[in-house]
Symmetry: C2
């Protein structure tokens, strides 16, 4: 098996070998065979009577020392993952809400602020959606109220559903979630509840545990909605933007600085300061000045809002350094391999950590979420400019591969585009095209890279089949990275891969958008927190049609699910009614009950469910069948069938 | 090795074997050998690239697939344990705070409430300590304010230290914790932060991770302070009470109902309803009516406040059922082996779960924290009375062993006793006796039972050596259970085990208390959340002497540490300045850095630290040496030494 679908990446991997640099694929290989107990979720390390392991062959222990069954153990392990995912996404959201609150407080005192509202329209829209009065109120006060409204979801003590959950799903869905007791009312309480009930000797009922996990996933969803929307207010709701992706965006004639992680608060400062300092880089001999490139979701954030090119998604983060042409990598939080420290040390690359809760041994720590944010950013960039001359030219090897990307498909951008066509009822063209089968359905690709499969491959293979069948594709996070890097987010891809009906729609929309070319067949919605955008759009469709999400011909797929955040996302997606394809084994196979609950019983409960399919051909087939089945149930293709 | 120190328990274990009932010791044996990676903390199951394992012999992988080192992996695993411990204790406290809040709200509306304040003095003391005005305020409003003051520690968004942390430590300590950035300001945020920063690719710095764990442990401490103090206000601060302990408290002529878990909210209702229904049990043929017995910390709660006898601590919970004479076991949260379901099904015992977040397959679920609390309690007790006639007399085997216990040593009780002797300066007699060496020091025994060692043995062996050396012993939780069951909490034990100087003090105090006998040499402070009582007393001493906790001749010991709560407790105890003995291996040995940080570097940072010693003789010796060293540093025994 090749490690990556991309030949140029493959070449860099060979370079690493010759330079004795260990990469994620090497470490994966060295880790074989992986522990089968862990893989199946039947290893319990919760108390210190253990560790315990259930024998999957039924010969050894069938219970932990406390008497916990495989079902209990698997469910506990699974929901702790959800707790971590929800914690991660929601602290991201909280950080942005706190930034707004501090901004409002400083503004009220007439002080200067590090950040400012870039998108007042979005702020007002949010306020209206959250039931905050927008008339007769100063901007400062509006910012404060929106921030407090978000923070309420982290502090509520009663059982009212989270503000950012209750009006971000259909009313039917909210009712269903409330009936099940899983409409989270406080994000941090939901996380804490999971950690408490999974303590030794507390909740032993796998179904009760899974319900707590489902609630935790709704907390995750809430945190993501807050993250996306407040980021939009702060930095602007994305609009279609043209850029490039893949390692070829690293420029040998520029001071290259990679921003990596998830939180736009920090990368926005780097981008801003880099603009100011560009001439210094030129003066230092870098003909093209400073070239900021993105990695992972921080990359997606600045790609969508600033057009910054995307160098890598998760699995190729080390490769960006391996080009030998990266002067600095600046990381914030989540999905940063600690190995980047060791890999950087093999080159002239300066590695910086910037958040108090994410340090890496060997990296320089300069906090960007502090009073000294700009000063620290200047220091980082000055050092990068100085490092430019230290490149070992013998080690520089930048792959040529880069592809054009049209990104920035926020809900706002899509609605704005549709408004051009149908001012009174913007969603009508979309609905009409779905009804008529020009768009057979929508598939949302989300999630990570996972070293257990060939990088980026299944994303592309599955998506190409769906596109050929006139299914429109949305993508976020590392899924979006996979499509961006591999030329599936441009007009050419539409010509090449979209079915005739879908192609016609995308051509028409592209013309309306003034592109003089089709829209791309895969819409880049943003970073992984921006899966919320897909739900917003689907919810708008559902509301207009008076349907719930599980009735729409919409599916989700995470072919390379890897992180705990992705587990949380998959869970809420299922909880909101979506069939969720996963392309790797989930660590739940040690419990038939948990596996069946996720893949079958959940369907009766909430409409959505998980299904595991590692084969891309079969995965595509199943996703298409599900969409067709949903269309059938809506009576959409009846006429055709009769014919 | 025998499983338990108690011969009568040993006999019941033999009975289980003959009746083919699997017990915790059987499951432990079946689980051998346990996974060495897990035992050393070097197994990572955080993301789905894994599971990863570090080779402790240095031959296989030294990094996870992401590049995380053993240090990072061990630190992440450890602090997730702390997060769970903190979550557990603090949700317990929150539940009680919410109960107070609801009570106040209902009272304000003139409605009847399930609970009422039993100890208005304590409520007022709490209010004063928390800076709440107690004059010119109705009781209802006082209840509400105290509740809100506690709930603020679950909802705060700024960085002010928790209300229940900042005035429950010495001011020097608070300063030290604040400097380190570990003075938790919001309990649930601290838990969420740990879950977020341990997500794949976030915090990789072991020291930064451990500091977050220390902060999480301070959140744990805060939650415990809230739990203890609000429970006292609600149900009464414990006063010395005489009762009995060990399985012999199960009465063959009574309807026996065990209350098990941790939360007094529920057991208090059972105790109350049992009183009302006693005659019905007598009418049903149970000569001695209803006999409520306690298990684990729920047992400790009702022992201290209601004199309810204690049947078992953690490891013997199954044995209580195995007596064949238990009509019902009513469990709430934490440390309830799921196996009690299977064991109950071998007898006539009804098993009830009562909390929404702690269900067990096979148990009947009747919620006691609801509007129907009393109705459900009556149903449970009625069923128990009906079950009395269903006992299989051939299977009944109640060990004779039970021992007298004097329990109830809350800080209030101790101060009240000392006030009799020294009304103007109650702590003076205690301080004088410590200074004079009549009390050489104080050792707090806390924590669990762990099947890896002989049940209860090390508690007793270590304590006997300390007592002989005139060190006074405090105990909580399953440690207290171990001492209570094994006759170390009565006057006879003082005569038998205390050194002459300590004996004289306890004799004098016993006379003053009107016991006509010495106080016990081991003070039962309460359940595991009541470790807060020990700190309160130590902090009062420290404040009066203008010292910090790490200077006092006070040590802590957890010979059978097992649960994640115990890991959290041990961590805050060290963080508050105490040397903490642990009698089993902590799952950190896979990282030299983490091990050294816990056992050495922590000392320089906060004064307290961990030390592992499995041999009870050596453990006792080391604890004594530490106390002597602390006395030396205070210059206490200089004169003696010269002589």
């Amino acid at each position: 098996m090749r490690n990556c679908y991309s030949q140029s990446n493959q070449n860099l991997i060979a370079k690493a070998e010759s330079e004795n640099v260990d990469l994620v694929w090497d470490r994966y290989k060295a880790m074989q065979p992986q522990c089968g107990y862990g893989e199946q979720g039947i290893c319990c390390r919760i108390c210190i009577k253990g560790p315990c392991r259930i024998d999957p062959f039924g010969e050894g222990p069938q219970e932990g020392i406390c008497g916990a069954s495989a079902d209990t153990i698997v469910a506990r392990n699974l929901i702790r993952r959800i707790a971590s995912g929800a914690a991660s996404h929601s602290l991201h959201g909280k950080e942005i809400a706190m930034t707004l609150l501090e901004m409002a407080e400083k503004q009220a005192e007439g002080k200067e602020t590090t950040y400012n509202i870039n998108d007042l329209d979005k702020l007002k829209t949010i306020a209206e959606e959250q039931g905050i009065e927008t008339e007769n109120i100063s901007n400062t006060e509006l910012i404060r109220k929106v921030a407090m409204n978000a923070l309420e979801d982290y502090t509520r003590i009663d059982n009212k559903p989270c503000n950012w959950l209750e009006n971000r799903v259909t009313s039917t869905r909210l009712e269903k979630l409330s009936e099940l007791g899983v409409a989270a009312s406080n994000i941090e309480t939901s996380v804490t509840d999971i950690m408490s009930r999974t303590h030794v000797g507390t909740d032993a009922d796998p179904i009760n545990l899974l319900l707590a996990g489902l609630k935790g996933s709704m907390a995750d969803y809430t945190g993501m909605q807050i993250s996306t929307n407040l980021s939009d207010a702060l930095f602007g709701a994305p609009e279609p933007v043209i850029s490039e992706a893949n390692l070829g965006v690293i420029n040998k004639d520029a001071v290259n600085i990679a921003v990596h992680g998830h939180n736009p608060l920090l990368s926005e400062i780097i981008v801003q300061v880099a603009d100011e300092m560009n001439q210094q880089a030129v003066d230092a001999g870098a003909r093209d000045g400073i070239n900021i490139v993105g990695v992972c979701c921080t990359g997606n954030e600045v790609l969508l809002r600033r057009g910054v090119p995307l160098a890598a998604n998760y699995l190729s983060q080390e490769l960006a350094i391996l080009t030998g042409a990266l002067e600095a990598m600046v990381v914030d939080v989540q999905c940063i391999m600690p190995s980047v420290s060791k890999v950087s040390s093999c080159y002239h690359t300066n590695l910086y950590t910037t958040m108090p809760d994410a340090k890496i041994p060997g990296a320089t720590h300069l906090e960007l979420d502090s009073e000294k944010a700009f000063e620290n950013a200047r220091e980082i960039i000055t050092d990068a400019i100085n490092a430019f001359s230290k490149r070992d030219l013998n080690k520089v090897d930048i792959p040529a591969e880069k592809n054009k990307v049209i990104a920035g498909f926020s809900k706002e951008a899509v609605v704005e585009l549709l408004t051009e066509i149908s001012p009174d009822d913007p969603l009508k063209p979309l609905i009409d095209n779905i009804v008529e089968g020009n768009i057979k359905g929508i598939a949302l690709f989300a999630g990570c890279n996972n070293v257990k499969v060939e990088q980026d491959r299944n994303y592309q293979e599955i998506a190409k089949k769906l596109l050929a069948d006139n299914i429109l594709v949305f993508a976020t996070g590392c899924a979006a990275g996979a499509f961006a890097k591999n030329s599936l987010m441009n007009s050419q891809a539409t010509e090449e891969y979209a079915g005739e009906k879908l192609k016609a729609v995308l051509r028409f929309l592209g013309e309306e958008a003034g592109l003089n070319a089709p829209l791309p067949p895969v819409f880049h919605l943003g970073s992984c927190v921006d899966n919320s955008r897909a739900v917003d759009l689907a919810t708008a469709l559902a509301n207009q049609l008076d349907l719930d999400l599980d009735q729409l011909p919409v599916v989700a797929s995470a072919p390379e699910l890897m992180s705990e955040k992705a587990v949380a996302i998959g869970t809420w997606a299922a909880g909101l009614g979506l069939p969720v394809h996963v392309g790797v084994d989930l660590p739940v196979t040690g419990s038939k009950l948990v596996t069946e609950t996720l893949t079958e019983s959940l369907k009766d409960l909430v409409g959505g469910y998980f299904f595991i399919e590692k084969d891309f051909e079969l995965a595509a087939e199943k996703l298409i069948n599900i969409i067709e089945d949903k269309r059938d149930k809506l009576g959409l293709d009846k006429v055709e069938e009769v014919i």
